[in-house]
Assembly symmetry: C2
Homo-oligomer: 288 residues x 2
């Protein structure tokens, strides 16, 4: 995955540049702290890979890649707050509000969310491509996308294991697939893809997100604690509905496999999708 590592380095360099310019405000330091905490950078890497595959200029698409990573990071900061999941740790480090206090963490999330759109607006791309990216990102990340998924997640927790499989699938689609879709769609846009290419990019990401979540549910039951790095069986303990609790392990595996196949088959629309195929397989056929 030489290309992937190169893209991660590009994205992290650009994030540093956008967030590290001044330490005038504590809130800016909090934004940089969380954005630089790492993670797999899946979304910006997908964006750059789609752009490249369609013949676009990766450097020009870089601000869009930063934008989707900023949205992802803000959602983690707000998710970790005491009124949400109340997590003290994120990627082995104190979560943003543990490090900077709740008020600054709240503002840091707001700041990253807002800056995502500044990044797109300032990109060296045609105005119609930039406004297309603003539209895609704001809709996929908004109340009819990711935020709607977070809201459904809150409601599902109250209802425990009594929710329907349809509701769970919709929750996963909004909570996880939507932002992945924005990444792939913005990549296709920046690469000069036509409507059909953008649609195929979104279709790929939809199934990738679902497959990824279902694999997560399966690993929570079958995984090895050591490989996984977290206790198994936590979903059942929390009375949380999962694809395994709703369908059983066998059917959950079939569904994960069906969504993986659909993701890979959407990729076949594109020529030169080798790197993306490898990345997809690494994400889906995993043990942690």
């Amino acid at each position: 995955m030489k290309q992937m590592n190169e893209y991660i380095a590009l994205v992290e360099g650009a994030l540093d540049k956008a967030l590290g310019s001044t330490d005038e405000y504590q809130v800016l330091r909090a934004m940089a702290y969380s954005a630089e905490a790492g993670g797999k950078r899946i979304r910006p890497v997908l964006l750059l890979m789609f752009c490249r595959m369609l013949g676009g200029n990766v450097n020009k698409a870089l601000p869009l890649a930063c934008a989707v990573e900023m949205i992802h990071t803000y959602s983690l900061i707000h998710d970790d707050l005491p009124c949400m999941d109340n997590d003290d740790l994120r990627r082995g480090k104190p979560s943003c509000h543990k490090q900077f206090g709740e008020a600054t963490a709240l503002l840091a999330g707001d700041g990253l969310l807002t800056m995502a759109f500044s990044m797109i607006a300032g990109a060296d791309l045609p105005a119609d491509v930039r406004i297309g990216a603003v539209k895609v990102l704001s809709q996929r990340a908004g109340v009819f996308g990711m935020i709607g998924g977070q809201e459904m997640d809150l409601q599902n927790e109250e209802k425990g294991s009594s929710i329907s499989a349809e509701t769970l699938e919709r929750t996963y689609a909004l909570k996880t697939s939507a932002l992945l879709q924005s990444a792939c769609e913005m990549g296709a846009l920046a690469g000069g893809g036509d409507e059909e290419a953008i649609e195929k990019a979104g279709e790929y990401a939809y199934h990738l997100g679902l497959a990824f979540q279902i694999v997560d549910d399966i690993l929570d039951v079958t995984g090895d604690e050591k490989t996984l790095g977290k206790p198994i069986g936590s979903d059942e303990e929390n009375g949380k509905a999962t694809f395994v609790s709703l369908y059983g392990l066998k059917k959950a595996r079939e569904l994960a496999s069906a969504h993986s196949d659909k993701a890979l088959s959407a990729l076949q629309y594109f020529s030169g999708s080798g790197e993306l195929k490898t990345l997809t397989e690494n994400l889906l056929f995993r043990e942690n």
Copy 2:
């Protein structure tokens, strides 16, 4: 103020349409609850007045007007949260988190902030005008604008009355002027104004915001509780630095007057600024 009332009605109609389409999610109801709670709608009205003054189409600028009001509303929802100002009431009604719970209020703020950019992206305006509006709004509302001002406000509270006049002016400029600037600048953009017109619009709003805040500080000392609708002397009681505590009443009045003059003089650049002049005078020469 016939034009003003007409513009308020336009904005409220458009906000209803954007937020009232479905009650599928509780978070959408929370967004609508706060956006419909009213207030003076100063920012969208300013935007539409600037657009109209420059010969633009008010209906086409309406999504931009909604966007700035959504940003204002989200900032109030997040400001009211327990980790910030912990206010139970907003405009005489339970604040968003009192009505819907903290998690939903957090998401409702995020949802309005995100939707603001969807509104701009979907406007029936040329792509370069829309992307210009995204740039202006995201910068003015971001960490180098409004959010930076909120952060400075938090830091000032810790430092109490020991901050410098320069710091207080910068806090007011970011916390209050920045979003007003985005409103006037987006209005000028949508009206087809050139760079100089946009700059003048921003200059007007900068001084309007400062004058407004200084008048607030003065009324907290000299105001009549009945007219003002809130207890006077609260700033001094909270040990909060204000223009009055830093400069004394006489000098604060001179500064308010100087910024009012500068705001009105920036308006003189434009022909047909009569309505805006009246609005400005109403905002600044007030008793509550």
